[in-house]
């Protein structure tokens, strides 16, 4: 309980989480000095829906014909505000004990890699950060989480773990088994 309060959040990003390639859930991934957490929150989705509604309603008396433009701006503005709300809610949930959150202790991370699917000759790409744990479970995070991979590696290095680059991603050298470990 006290551990949750004392741990300082290093980084949080909106991402869709997958476990072994299934169960896509919208939420926020949070990196703490000792663990990676994923919390299910959906304010960004609500923002995408209500943003255009609010923008069109607000703009109606002024420019009643500009609905399409208002809708585009509404989606962008709504999702941006939703993302901010999501991150704050997720951090609060974790500070309150992290009930319902998926916790991945950094000690159990075995490797980090990026799965990439491209469209239109590589002009548009969907990338998923895949975190594999020692028991073989693969946690995927899809979103704008690009540099999170090297940030997790840096945090692991700070914990004294050896992380090396390989052609397939970053490999974490297993922790030596000590007495009582």
């Amino acid at each position: 309980m006290e551990m949750a309060e004392s741990a300082a959040l290093i980084r949080s990003e909106s991402a869709r989480r997958y476990v072994d390639g299934r169960m896509g859930r919208w939420g926020v991934v949070l990196l703490y000095p000792d663990r990676l957490a994923s919390v299910n929150v959906r304010a960004e989705l609500w923002g995408c829906f209500f943003g255009p509604v609010v923008m069109i309603a607000a703009g109606w008396p002024v420019t009643e014909d500009g609905g399409a433009f208002h809708a585009i701006i509404g989606v962008l503005l709504g999702s941006t505000i939703g993302r901010l709300i999501d991150r704050r809610r997720a951090a609060r949930k974790m500070a309150a004990g992290g009930a319902g959150a998926t916790i991945i202790p950094l000690d159990r991370i075995d490797s980090l890699r990026t799965d990439r699917t491209t469209r239109w000759s590589g002009q548009f790409a969907v990338e998923t950060l895949v975190v594999t744990t020692t028991d073989g479970t693969e946690y995927g995070f899809r979103g704008r989480v690009g540099s999170l991979q090297t940030e997790i590696a840096g945090t692991l290095a700070g914990l004294g773990r050896e992380v090396r680059a390989t052609p397939l991603g970053l490999a974490v050298t297993p922790q030596p088994v000590r007495n009582g470990a």
Partner: protein, 180 residues
């Protein structure tokens, strides 16, 4: 002298040399080198899209829809322009020309990402900083995504030892062998 080999990765970024701005362009990662090409098609796309949307707004809605048109034009123009930049950049690589900077992967000694919060973390900016053996720092500011990890993987593919440190990724210098 253009280099039409398909890069492993390409990203639209602002280029910095030892912290000084050196223009906008595309960074291309090849198996043995990192190349920065200065290209400004994105700005042309902004202008063209603002004009097109202005005409559409006037014809369809019979209004110049104030700030919404330039905003949408820049947004859409940026999206299209970045894609065009990345498509054109490999064909514009010309070693020795003023628009091209080539960093051989062999010369890289470390990689790190400098991150700024930007409005309570809503609009963070990231700069991938590549330091070479002679101490020069090349910065790539923009949506660099997984570029740092991809450079590390390319270095590993070349047989270099790349390890994570709390400050970024450190590349172990190549041992001096015969003729190296």
């Amino acid at each position: 002298m253009t280099d039409r080999i398909k890069p492993i990765r390409s990203e639209s970024t602002f280029f910095r040399l030892d912290g000084n701005r050196k223009g906008k362009g595309v960074v291309l990662l090849y198996p043995d080198r990192l190349v920065n090409v200065k290209i400004y098609v994105e700005y042309v796309c902004w202008f063209v899209m603002v004009l097109i949307l202005d005409v559409v707004a006037y014809r369809v809605f019979h209004v110049i829809a104030s700030w919404l048109v330039p905003f949408s034009g820049i947004l859409l123009g940026g999206l299209i322009g970045r894609a065009v930049d990345r498509w054109l950049a490999p064909g514009m690589v010309a070693p020795g020309a003023g628009n091209t900077t080539i960093i051989p992967l062999d010369e890289i000694s470390s990689l790190r990402t400098d991150r700024s919060g930007g409005l309570a973390g809503l609009f963070p900016t990231e700069t991938v900083v590549v330091t070479t053996a002679d101490g020069t720092e090349y910065g790539f500011l923009g949506r660099t995504g997984y570029l740092q990890a991809d450079i590390a993987s390319a270095l590993a593919e070349l047989g270099r030892d790349v390890r994570a440190t709390p400050l970024g990724l450190a590349v172990t210098p190549r041992a001096l062998g015969d003729g190296a």
